[in-house]
Amino acid sequence: MTDVSSTPPATRRVDPVALLAFAVVALAYGRAIWFTPPEATQGFAQKILYVHAPAAWVAFLAFGVTALAGAFWLFLKDQRLDRLAESSAEVGVIFTTAVLVTGPLWGKPVWGTWWTWDARLTLTLFLWFIYVGYLVLRGVIPGREQRARYAAVVGILGALLIPFIHLSVYLFRTLHPLPVVARPEGPAMPTVMVKTFFLAFFAFTLLYVAFVRARMALATERDALDDAAVGG
């Protein structure tokens, strides 16, 4: 996209989206810690909601973006789409890991156990496995076109797989609360919590966008460097 020889590399410049994302994250957590009351029965442990749930949202969002970018790549063969898929998958792994780490931290005080084979927990764990498999596959294919093609196939099939894993593990058993916020009769949560909750969602989504932008800039430079090395 950019001519690397004349402009400063995109990875060196400070991305305004990243600045905004960090500011909103700070705002959301300031609000969550100091201005949102603790939950009546769970106490302070419930605060982890503001990390856990938004991270889970971004984890699934990232996988959706990876799958869509891959699908479009198959038709358009635009390298930027493949870089988007790659970046989104890598950022997605980070957020999925955050979900898997914060989940047990919350589960121990509230459910009394670090890990349980609950439906949504298991689904997230498999999401993580699919992501990692996807990235391992990318890592072993040196050719750019072949890598993009194979990754697109795995990304698309992975997106198809998610509902099936969801169905199976849900049928197996679930411990998670039924929807607390997104339900037809309105959120079963005090407004002050809902506001913080949505602010945290917005903050994490911005953070996702910022991370993907940074990762894409890196991928663009890497590809340009490869081209320069091959083209001489």
């Binding site: 391992v136 698309i156 797989l161 049928l171």
Partner: protein, 228 residues
């Protein structure tokens, strides 16, 4: 001779693969021995006085099928690596999807062949009373085998051209086996416990939907895994 259609070409490719397998018998024999070994070894992994063999049987059976299936799937594109056989297959005037369907059919025969030996072996070794559940149990086996083979064939083709193929195939394919192995094992457990088939309908619906969606989707995306 005029070029055959999708199913005709697929049939030819499946027959070719099965002929190779039948003449060498290397993979099928290994897979059979592996599944028998697994069934025998798993028996000793639990305290047989604490856990009844019948309670272990469904889990052991499905873990065994999953891994012996992977063994066969890996071979399915491995045989094309020699002497540029894959290139010859690509040059042949057959639809690309026919290669997938043919390979999948051969793999299905392979997996069903392993199941045909491993299931009676487990019934024998674990002293499981199947009784009237045989037809339903065989139905579950076939439903699960279709999904396993559809996804497995695609990933076998995908990983065949990469280094680490034998490692990458299970890493990629196993998460996809979750919605197959979980329903199949749950339905098997219910059937072996003498519960009516109707109790397993929810699981069987997932299996059937998986088969339909993934058989079609894998066939559709398969050409993207071929390198011209």
């Amino acid at each position: 001779m005029s070029a055959p259609g999708l199913l005709g070409s697929a049939w030819l490719i499946a027959r070719k693969d099965l002929a190779i397998e039948f003449r060498t018998r290397s993979a099928l024999l290994s897979a059979l021995v592996l599944s028998l070994l697994a069934i025998v070894i798993f028996y000793f992994a639990w305290d047989s006085t604490a856990v009844g063999a019948g309670d272990l049987a469904p889990g052991v059976l499905w873990v065994t099928f999953t891994f012996s299936g992977l063994l066969g799937l890996h071979r399915s594109f491995g045989v094309e690596a020699q002497d540029g056989a894959m290139d010859a297959l690509l040059i042949a005037p057959v639809p690309r999807q026919a290669i997938f369907v043919g390979k999948a059919l051969a793999n299905l025969a392979f997996v069903l062949g392993v199941q045909a030996v491993a299931l009676p072996a487990m019934v024998l070794f674990y002293d499981v009373g199947v009784g009237a559940a045989w037809p339903a149990l065989i139905g579950v086996m076939i439903l699960a085998a279709i999904g396993l083979v559809a996804v497995g064939t695609l990933f076998a083709g995908l990983t065949a051209n990469t280094r680490l193929a034998e490692l990458l195939l299970p890493v990629l394919a196993l998460p996809f086996f979750v919605p197959i192995v979980m329903p199949a094992a749950q339905a098997t457990a219910k059937l072996l416990a003498g519960r009516p088939l109707a109790e397993s309908f929810a699981w069987l619906r997932i299996l059937l939907a998986f088969d339909l969606v993934f058989a079609y989707a894998c066939m559709l995306v398969f050409p993207a895994t071929l390198d011209d």
